[in-house]
């Protein structure tokens, strides 16, 4: 595929068209077992070791619904402000594909368990955009194929494929938005923010880790353009398996530019599935089908309807955790920071570490300062996420305590953190081993100050003469002499005292 695709510059595209998006997100639930059988869902198992007659689709095997799967679906529905069906069914979606053992997917069709909801998502500048949710329904994942004989595991040119059904039957919740209109030039940002917010909600509910890089959360992006001023949707493309937040943003952007080029050139957009390529940030056409799919949905006769009682639904609603946006707003207020600051914290992945550090006793400002400063720098340098650093929130909290008590100054504290990260033990152990305590012995401090004054008579005179700002040089000398272990504020106080200068 070497054909180059024409693109219209993004700003030009947005000048002529309004994008309409539809996002379909599949989330693998973190249940212990599969949706319809008792096989484990643990990751990393040897191929075909987590299969049984049910998930292999052996003749005669029958599905039984995982109660926790249903509960998770209801929780997700409630968190997305959906109505929960009083009665709904599973349906069979019939089509042949080798990674699907029964050659139908047990899914839901016209009776989803949750429908008509919304999710408020916050953009970089703090603006809140409401994304309407069409439905959230339960279904099952497919197996995994490995393509052999072609180039680097690609399907094209492969001589054969190998199938592992460990993943087949893992519960999925598919969350479908209503058409997202009105995002304009911010469409890519809205798409990304929506997927991120959805991920936070899923994690807050504890129903899945929703790690996109592990395939636990996957996004399909539907996009169409309508000429500015028109209310009629254009033909959409469906870009499959866009599997990172950044890719979601890029795929939307790319498709806007591609659609605009097609339309500007007087062409018509083909309704098709497309594939997103991480390396180039482009999409390419999927195989065009000679015939339209006809999934021949019908109610799954091997399963009985799911009828969540209102009492149960209300119980689940009452037990929902505080949802991420609400929580973030609350914390922002409690901490007295701006939306931009909060966004920076989120982008850095620092929210949970900071909260945990505060919970462990740290002052909020101090917790933020260390995670967003020193620790973020370490994470950056080592290419790790904040929560992967070898330091716990409790340890960070202890460092802030030592600073607050005057036992450490910032410079020493940085050394303590380095020691903890280097595996030298808890902060107190590092302090002990490295001998990092602030010199608080007034006698020793006084002697060092005297020494500094004596060694810098010119500076001392200046200060005596009223140039208090010059005190820094003397403080520096004392700090140097004490190898940084003095409390700089106290040193300054002592110097001024000894030179007989009162502060302002």
């Amino acid at each position: 595929m070497t054909t180059t695709t024409d693109l219209v510059p993004y700003e030009d595209a947005l000048a002529s068209y309004d994008p309409v998006m539809g996002l379909e997100v599949h989330v693998e639930l973190g249940t212990k077992t599969k949706m319809f059988c008792g096989c484990s869902t643990a990751l990393g198992a040897e191929p075909n070791t987590q299969t049984c007659p049910v998930c292999l689709g052996l003749p005669g095997a029958l599905p039984v619904v995982n109660a926790t799967g249903v509960e998770s679906a209801v929780k997700i529905g409630l968190a997305l402000n959906c109505e929960i069906a009083e009665w709904c069914r599973f349906a069979r979606k019939n089509y042949f594909y080798p990674d699907m053992p029964k050659n139908f997917q047990t899914s839901q069709y016209d009776e989803p368990i949750a429908f008509n909801g919304y999710l408020d998502v916050q953009l970089e500048d703090g603006e809140v955009f409401r994304v309407e949710i069409e439905r959230a329904h339960m279904e099952e994942d497919t197996g995994k194929s490995t393509h052999v004989g072609g180039a680097t595991g690609r399907i094209h040119g492969a001589s054969h494929s190998l199938l592992d059904y460990n993943r087949a039957g893992i519960p999925l919740i598919e969350i479908v938005t209503k058409p997202i209109v009105g995002a304009g030039e911010r469409a890519p940002e809205v798409a990304k923010a929506y997927v991120r917010e959805l991920r936070e909600v899923i994690r807050a509910l504890g129903v899945s880790e929703a790690r996109m890089e592990m395939g636990q959360m996957r996004c399909d992006v539907n996009l169409s353009l309508m000429p500015k001023g028109s209310g009629t949707f254009g033909t959409r493309s469906e870009t499959k398996n866009v599997n990172s937040l950044r890719s979601v943003e890029r795929a939307v952007r790319y498709e806007i530019q591609r659609h605009a080029a097609v339309l500007d050139g007087g062409g018509t957009v083909v309704q098709e599935t497309r594939h997103f390529h991480e390396d180039t940030g482009t999409t390419t056409s999927g195989r065009t089908k000679e015939e339209a799919e006809d999934y021949r949905y019908f109610p799954e006769p091997d399963l009985v309807p799911v009828a969540p009682s209102r009492e149960w639904v209300e119980k689940l609603r009452a037990a929902l955790p505080e949802l991420p946006l609400v929580r973030r707003n609350r914390l922002r207020e409690e901490w007295g920071i701006s939306a931009t600051d909060m966004q920076a914290i989120l982008n850095a992945g620092a929210l949970e570490p900071i909260v945990a550090t505060i919970d462990a006793g740290a002052d909020p400002a101090a917790a933020r300062k260390w995670w967003m400063g020193e620790l973020a720098r370490h994470a950056n340098e080592s290419g790790k996420a904040l929560d992967e650093l070898a330091i716990t929130p409790r340890q960070v909290a202890r460092v802030t305590e030592l600073v607050a008590a005057g036992d450490l100054n910032d410079k020493l504290a940085r050394q303590v953190i380095e020691g903890v990260l280097a595996g030298e033990g808890d902060p107190d152990q590092v302090v002990e081993k490295r001998g990092l305590k602030v010199v608080s012995d007034e006698g020793a401090l006084s002697a060092a100050v005297d020494e500094a004054i004596a060694g810098n008579p010119a500076v001392a005179d200046k200060i005596r003469g009223g140039k208090v700002a010059a005190v820094g040089a003397l403080v520096g000398a004392v700090m140097k002499a004490t190898r940084g272990q003095a409390d700089a504020a106290r040193v300054k106080e002592l110097i001024l005292e000894k030179l007989g200068v009162g502060e302002g």
């Binding site: 049984c52 039984v64 069914r89 492969a158 494929s161 199938l163 109610p299 009985v304 009828a307």
Partner: protein, 98 residues
């Protein structure tokens, strides 16, 4: 009800993944037409305000606890496989989407 054409039979066969022979297409077209013609009577009730019954029993909420049960061994799982490789089911090249 409309007669079922050879083309329609061919389309159904593709959906159902049956590589029907040309003579089968004709044979089935005739037979399906007869059968559909006979059973199409059910549509007499299409306009009636009757709820559909998809299941003889009025059961709801049959579920199991999320507890792991033993899986098959990979040997058992693969025991019927026409071909296997690396403890996986070996299948011909998949003409699918990437």
């Amino acid at each position: 009800m409309p007669g079922i054409t050879r083309e329609e039979v061919a389309h159904l066969a593709r959906l159902a993944r049956l590589e029907l022979k040309p003579e089968e297409l004709d044979h089935f077209a005739g037979q399906l037409d007869d059968i559909i013609g006979a059973v199409a009577r059910v549509s007499e009730v299409a306009d009636q305000d009757v709820p559909p019954t998809s299941h003889p029993l009025p059961l709801t909420n049959v579920m199991r606890a999320d507890e792991v049960r033993p899986s098959l061994t990979p040997e058992q799982a693969l025991s019927g496989a026409p071909a296997q490789e690396q403890q996986r089911f070996k299948v011909p090249q998949i003409l699918g989407e990437e």
